[in-house]
């Protein structure tokens, strides 16, 4: 319901203002009530103190008439005074402002009260304030002050606070809407750009207005877009370069998934076998790769490379290398490199024959050399023998040597 940032901001504001308004209302009601009660207490206390002095003589002289006259006069002249009465130390009512039927028995509950007290009477809330007369020797004067005006003042204060709260909420919501629009508009632009690029669209930057956090975000986003764009460009160039290199290899390069589906084939492979990508290696290579399944299985199971050879009916000889590879997403794959080694093999054979001939020549030369050396001695002994015919022994030795 509140997925959008604007909704969250508005809802948070409303909750905050509502809670603040309620809290303030209760606080104001409480503080105004207390202030009003304190004001009533002060006024009543001031009046009570004045009256206590006035009442000292009539009470001391037991002048009930004068006492009554004072209490009734005060009661009549002050519309906020509900009652006045005096209670002596024995708990007797020694004077009151009530006329006619007399002193209400319910008020006796206040005779022992020395602190201010709030009571409910028929006409509303009354604050009872008491003050001792002549230190309590002549009794205690109780004055009951109506709190009706005080409640009205409290009510008006609470109403004012609530009105201000509602007004603040309304104005605040309008302000928040404008603020949210200002905040979310560039964010939404960023989101749109990111979403567009995510769907393969062109890289776009967003306009930067102002210098606030959102503007900083837009700047960072644009920088990121530029960097990503540069990286992708570099990556594409590198990919093209690598593919070009691979395509120019004389070997066939095939990348197979674990399932055998061919995911990549370079140009040589395509030239040799046609379009292989997306096809099953078993279907299109089985007849040209007698050990394909064994080799790929070996690589997938052991993770080690292996090599095999294949002699085609055409007489061509191929070296088949199988290498393990891990895809970017963790998939296990197999690379097959097939190289036509027919010429290499023929060259090797010729070289091998040449080497064997060279060895035979060297062997023959050795044999000739080995034979020539004694023959040369014999020849020389024989050549010298006629010159030593006089010397029989020498001749004999030469002949022995020969």
């Amino acid at each position: 319901m509140f997925r959008r940032l604007r909704s969250k901001i508005i809802m948070s504001f409303c909750l905050l203002m509502g809670a603040g308004g309620l809290f303030t209302t209760v606080l104001v009601q409480e503080s105004v009530s207390r202030a009003v009660a304190a004001s009533v207490d002060r006024n009543a206390s001031a009046l009570a103190q004045t009256l206590a002095v006035q009442l000292t003589r009539p009470l001391a002289y037991s002048d009930q008439l004068a006492t009554k006259q004072i209490l009734v006069r005060v009661r009549k002249t002050s519309r906020d005074i509900v009652y006045l009465f005096i209670v002596d130390a024995e708990g007797r009512i020694t004077g009151h402002s009530f006329s006619g039927s007399g002193f209400p028995r319910d008020l006796l509950m206040l005779v022992n009260e020395t602190s201010s007290k709030t009571i409910h009477v028929e006409t509303g809330v009354v604050r009872d304030v008491s003050i001792p007369i002549a230190g309590g020797v002549l009794g205690t004067l109780h004055i009951g002050s109506s709190m009706t005006w005080a409640e009205q003042a409290t009510l008006e204060a609470v109403e004012d606070v609530m009105a201000m709260t509602v007004l603040a909420v309304v104005v605040g919501i309008v302000g928040i809407l404008i603020l949210a629009q200002l905040i979310t508009r560039p964010i939404l632009a960023l989101t749109g750009a990111a979403r567009h690029m995510g769907k393969g669209g062109a890289f776009t930057t967003t306009p930067v207005t102002g210098r606030d956090e959102v503007a900083e975000l837009a700047v960072a986003f644009n920088q990121l877009v530029a960097q990503v764009q540069a990286r992708i460009s570099e990556s594409n160039e590198l990919r093209a370069y690598v593919e070009n290199v691979i395509d120019h290899l004389e070997s066939s390069i095939i990348v197979m998934e674990e399932s055998g589906v061919i995911e990549y084939a370079n140009r040589t492979a395509t030239e040799w076998h046609g379009d292989l990508v997306g096809q099953s290696s078993e279907d299109c290579l089985e007849d040209k790769r007698p050990n394909l399944q064994d080799s790929t299985r070996h690589v997938l199971m052991t993770g080690e490379s292996c090599k095999t050879f294949y002699s085609a009916p055409s007489g061509r000889i191929y070296e088949l290398s199988y290498l393990p590879m891990e895809g970017g997403d963790g998939r296990r794959m197999v690379i097959e490199r097939a190289s036509d080694i027919t010429e290499q093999r023929q060259m090797a054979d010729r070289l091998q024959r040449a080497e064997r001939l060279a060895v035979a020549g060297e062997l023959a030369a050795g044999i000739v050399h080995t034979i020539n050396n004694p023959l040369d001695g014999v020849r020389r002994a024989i050549q010298l023998a006629p010159q030593a015919l006089d010397d029989t022994n020498r001749t004999k030795k030469l002949l022995d040597l020969a």
């Binding site: 209760v26 001391a60 002289y61 002193f103 209400p104 319910d106 109403e159």
Partner: protein
């Protein structure tokens, strides 16, 4: 209220009470409910000794100070003692006469008249500032240029009570000696019914001069000199016997003796001394009743005491 009505769709009392319910309120009291009678007797119904006090000084000054005195008497007499005051000395005399009060401290002048009128009995006298006598001071404001009684002619004068010795009789006697009366001598005079009220009347310009009890003046000298700093004493009288402790003619002898013992022991008792110190009294003593005879004679001269008014049986 309009706002709340529009906002919440209810009158203000309802939603206000909703908030107000959070605040604890008081008890419910019915002012138009059952009533009680005024001045109901205390539940205990115990016997009370009523002790009268002449309004030498106003209740504002004396109520608290006599509270401890009454408390002491209550604890030592074994019965609750209640202080009784009346505005005029004659009212106090009337209470003593009819037995509504059993004892009291009355003014010298009132005692002198009551002794002759209905046999009020002096029990003893307090010792105040070490003496059992006092004087009358005629006072005026500083700068009024009153230096003698003659200077007070046609002035506005304040007396305390028609039965007061220092607060009326003294000046009345002085004027009588000059062949005059207060009504003839002064432009206007009135009674304040306490000596401190006379001081205030003069100080505040309600009266040009007045006559008071010297003990009250001395009390202000000790406690609050600011009250009398703008006042001057025009004349000091001779000494008079002090206000006595009296008992009603109807009081029992047993009570009289018990009260006498308690009062005499007060000066030796720490609690008693404390109670008396509030009143500036250091103790009680007995003096001769004849010391009041000159006051009686003066009243007779002034016509306050006449043979017709006396009901004394002797």
């Amino acid at each position: 209220m309009v706002f709340s009505t529009l906002l919440l769709g209810c009158d203000h009392a309802h939603w206000f009470l909703c908030i107000d319910a959070l605040v604890p309120r008081g008890h419910n009291v019915r002012l138009d409910g059952p009533t009680i009678e005024e001045s109901e007797e205390p539940p205990s119904g115990e016997q009370v000794i009523r002790f009268a006090l002449a309004s030498v000084v106003s209740p504002e000054l004396s109520t608290l100070t006599y509270a401890r005195f009454a408390s002491y008497l209550t604890s030592h007499l074994g019965q609750k003692v209640e202080i009784v005051r009346r505005k005029t000395y004659s009212e106090v005399n009337e209470l003593l006469k009819n037995g509504s009060v059993q004892a009291g401290i009355v003014c010298t002048g009132a005692y002198a008249k009551a002794r002759e009128d209905f046999g009020l009995r002096m029990l003893m006298v307090p010792i105040v500032y070490g003496a059992t006598s006092y004087r009358a001071y005629i006072i005026t404001r500083t700068g009024m240029r009153f230096e003698s009684i003659e200077d007070l002619r046609d002035s506005i004068f304040a007396f305390s009570d028609p039965l007061s010795n220092s607060g009326y009789r003294h000046v009345a006697a002085l004027l009588h000696d000059r062949g005059s009366t207060p009504r003839q001598f002064f432009q206007h005079f009135f009674f304040t019914y306490s000596h401190d009220s006379t001081i205030h009347a003069v100080r505040d310009g309600i009266a040009d001069a007045g006559v008071i009890d010297s003990l009250v003046w001395d009390q202000f000298v000790l406690s609050d000199r600011s009250i009398i700093e703008d006042l001057a004493i025009v004349q000091r009288s001779e000494e008079f016997p002090i206000n006595p402790v009296v008992t009603s003619p109807s009081a029992s002898l047993e009570f009289v003796e018990k009260l006498k013992g308690v009062l005499l022991e007060m000066a030796t008792n720490p609690a008693g001394r404390n109670a008396l110190s509030d009143l500036g009294i250091t103790g009680f003593t007995e003096i001769s009743d004849s010391e009041y005879d000159p006051i009686v004679a003066s009243w007779r001269t002034l016509g306050v005491i006449t043979d017709d008014s006396s009901t004394r049986e002797n």
